[in-house]
Structures are given as C-alpha cells and as structure tokens.
C-alpha cells in the first residue's frame, strides 16, 4: 500500500465515516465491547485501510491480522456489518454514511479484538491428507506426470482456497457444532481426490457424521467464499461419491 498523498488526506478530512469496532482484551474485558472511531471516508479505501488508520493514528492497541492487501493471503477475514468479508477487498464506500460494524469472524473463539483462533481448522486440514498420494514407483525428477487441461480443470476450482475461513464463519452448522469438518477442509480434500495424479482415498475421513454428512447444504459457504471455490458443491459431490461407494462397495469413485 502506498502512503496517502497530503492532498488526498486533506480532501478526505472533510468527510469521515464511523467504524464501530469490537474490542476484546482478555483480562480487561469479560466480553467484547464496541468502540467507535472516525476515519476519513476516501473512495479508494478498503475497510482494512480504515483499520490501519485507526491503528496508526488513533489507537495503537487495536489488533487485527493482515498482510498482502490483495485478497490472496487470507488473513484479513472479519465480520463487516454482519457478513463475513475480506476487509482488504471490502470498500468503505459500500456502506454509505456508515457506521460500519466490524467484528471478528463468527464461529471461532476470539483471542483478542478482531483476531480469532483458527488452529482447529489447521488440525482439520491435516486430517484430510491434503497432499498428493502416489503408489508404486515415482517418476524421476526429470519428467512430469502428464495432465491435460481438462484434467486440470476437474479440480482447479477447489485448489483456489486461500484458507480465509469466511465459509466456516458463514456456515451455521459449523457455528453450532465446531466438530464439523467444514467447507474448506472438504473442498481441499476434493481438490486432491479429483486430481488425476492422486491415487489416495479419503473415504475414511470424509464419510463421517461430522464430515460430509454433517453438512445440510445451507449453501452459505459458497456465497461467502471470495475465491469462488464453491465448497458447497464439493461437499454435495462427495456425498454422492460416498453414497454410491457405500451401496456399490466395489466401485471406487
């Protein structure tokens, strides 16, 4: 991000928008409280720029995660006016005259202010074996496994997940039952299942009550996903796969 030119800053100083930010300071607050800050309403500013303005100029103790500022690192997910959003890709001007309520992602324990605990997701991700599983002899490191553009297309969409957790936050099943394996982990399992180079089998971890069968197809995960991964589709497709495998035990996929 660039620093703002002085002229822009002055022009902006005439108009401001109010951010109502959830603060939670362990040891100090027993539950989150809202604190209001006025930030310049600048057309190019994302909500994240507003938060950085608060941190840089008004209150250095405000804590939140961010890094790339281009919607690809997945760290700046928060609840903005009730909806899970990437704050670096959500603009202040989308909210008229405000105020804008900014809260941590729903469904996760809050560590501090806008920062939530996502270790649970990482454990889930590991559990679905998100790596290419091969059997038999490996090719030498001089040749690639062939994969046609069509074969690539078959899983490509599910490989676009940036682990931003918006889908988890949007899914009522996950919010009510944290044991649910959840949209992104299942989509990533499908990313490998559908890869023509993969020979693995993730039936044992997906065909469980708290895995694909926990999903009641609310579909909010797909709506929330900023990268068009469509986890809802990934899950429903695996339900069909798993169901067919259960009735036709000899069929693999």
């Amino acid at each position: 991000m660039t620093d703002t030119e002085e002229s822009v800053r002055q022009a902006a100083a005439t108009r401001t928008i109010r951010l109502e930010i959830a603060r939670y300071r362990p040891g100090q607050d027993s539950e989150p409280v809202f604190q209001g800050y006025d930030v310049p309403l600048t057309t190019d500013w994302a909500v994240l720029d507003g938060l950085n303005y608060v941190k840089d100029r008004l209150d250095g103790s405000l804590s939140f995660r961010w890094s790339c500022r281009m919607g690809v690192c997945g760290s700046c997910g928060m609840t903005v006016n009730g909806e899970p959003r990437l704050t670096c890709g959500t603009f202040l001007t989308e909210y008229g005259d405000g105020p804008i309520r900014i809260e941590p992602l729903k469904g996760f324990p809050v560590i501090r202010d806008l920062i939530v605990d996502i270790d649970d997701f990482l454990a889930k991700l590991s559990s679905v074996r998100p790596w290419l599983i091969r059997e038999g002899e490996e090719l030498p490191l001089t040749t690639e496994y062939a994969q046609t553009p069509e074969q690539l297309d078959a899983y490509k969409q599910y490989s676009m997940c940036i682990n931003c957790m918006l889908c988890y936050s949007a899914c009522p099943v996950y919010v009510l039952n944290p044991d649910f394996l959840g949209p992104a982990a299942i989509a990533l399992a499908q990313r490998y299942n559908l890869d023509s180079r993969d020979m693995g089998d993730r039936f044992d971890v997906l065909n469980l009550e708290d895995a694909v069968w926990g999903c009641t197809f609310v579909g909010e995960c797909t709506r929330a996903c900023p990268k068009h991964v469509d986890p809802a589709e990934a899950i429903q497709r695996y339900k069909l796969t798993a169901a067919l495998r259960s009735v036709l035990p000899w069929s693999k996929r």
């Binding site: 009522p172 099943v173 009510l176 039952n177 039936f203 044992d204 065909n207 469980l208 009550e209 069968w213 009641t216 339900k239 798993a242 169901a243 495998r245 259960s246 009735v247």
Partner: protein, 113 residues
C-alpha cells in the same frame, strides 16, 4: 474403518427429495386445493379405484410415500437440531424421526396391499 449409516439415509433423503418435488405439488394442487374448492370436479370413486387397482400404480405410490417420509424425517431431524441447538440428543431425535417414517411407510403398505 468406522461404519456409518449416513450415506444410506442420505440416499433415501435425496430420492425422497426428488420424488416429493416431482409428484407432490400436482397432487396437493388437485386433491387439496382445486377439487375441494370446486374449481374442478372430484373424479368418481370408480375411476380412482380403477387407477389404484393397477399394481404398478400402487407400488409407485408406496415408493413415493416411503421416500417422501424419509426425506421429511431426515430434514426434520437436522433442522430441529440446528434450530433448537439440540444436536446432543441426535440419537433420540433420529429414532423419533426415522421411526415415524417407518410407521408411516408400514401403514401405507398395509393400506395398499
């Protein structure tokens, strides 16, 4: 490997969803709304019985009844758990819901055959 009966329940649920979608609206429309309102006349008893005399029709009807009941049972199970946050009683709820569906299915079978 841990076995689960969810895939079978889901197949019944999905089949029921399709069956319910394809045949129920027209049936309620005719028998539940248009005929009672007199918009169209009730068919004669004989005509309807003649339809039911066909074993294929009866079999199809039974399939629709069983599938739709399972569909409803499955959804009611999950929706009640989500709405009221009572997932910890899942086993009990499941027994009630699917039990109800089985009772309904058996009743249908007894009636029709």
């Amino acid at each position: 490997m841990k076995r689960t009966i969810e895939p079978y329940l889901w197949l019944l649920f999905s089949g029921g969803g399709v069956a319910a979608a394809l045949v129920l609206p027209v049936l309620v429309l005719l028998f539940g709304v248009l005929m009672p309102l007199g918009v169209i006349d009730w068919p004669t008893v004989e005509h309807l019985r003649a339809l039911l005399d066909n074993v294929l029709v009866r079999a199809a009807l039974l399939v629709v009844i069983v599938l739709c009941l399972f569909h409803a049972a499955h959804r009611i199970r999950f929706t009640s758990e989500e709405l009221f946050g009572i997932a910890r009683y899942d086993l009990l709820i499941a027994v009630l819901c699917y039990g109800g569906a089985i009772v309904g299915g058996v009743t249908g079978a007894l009636l029709l055959f």
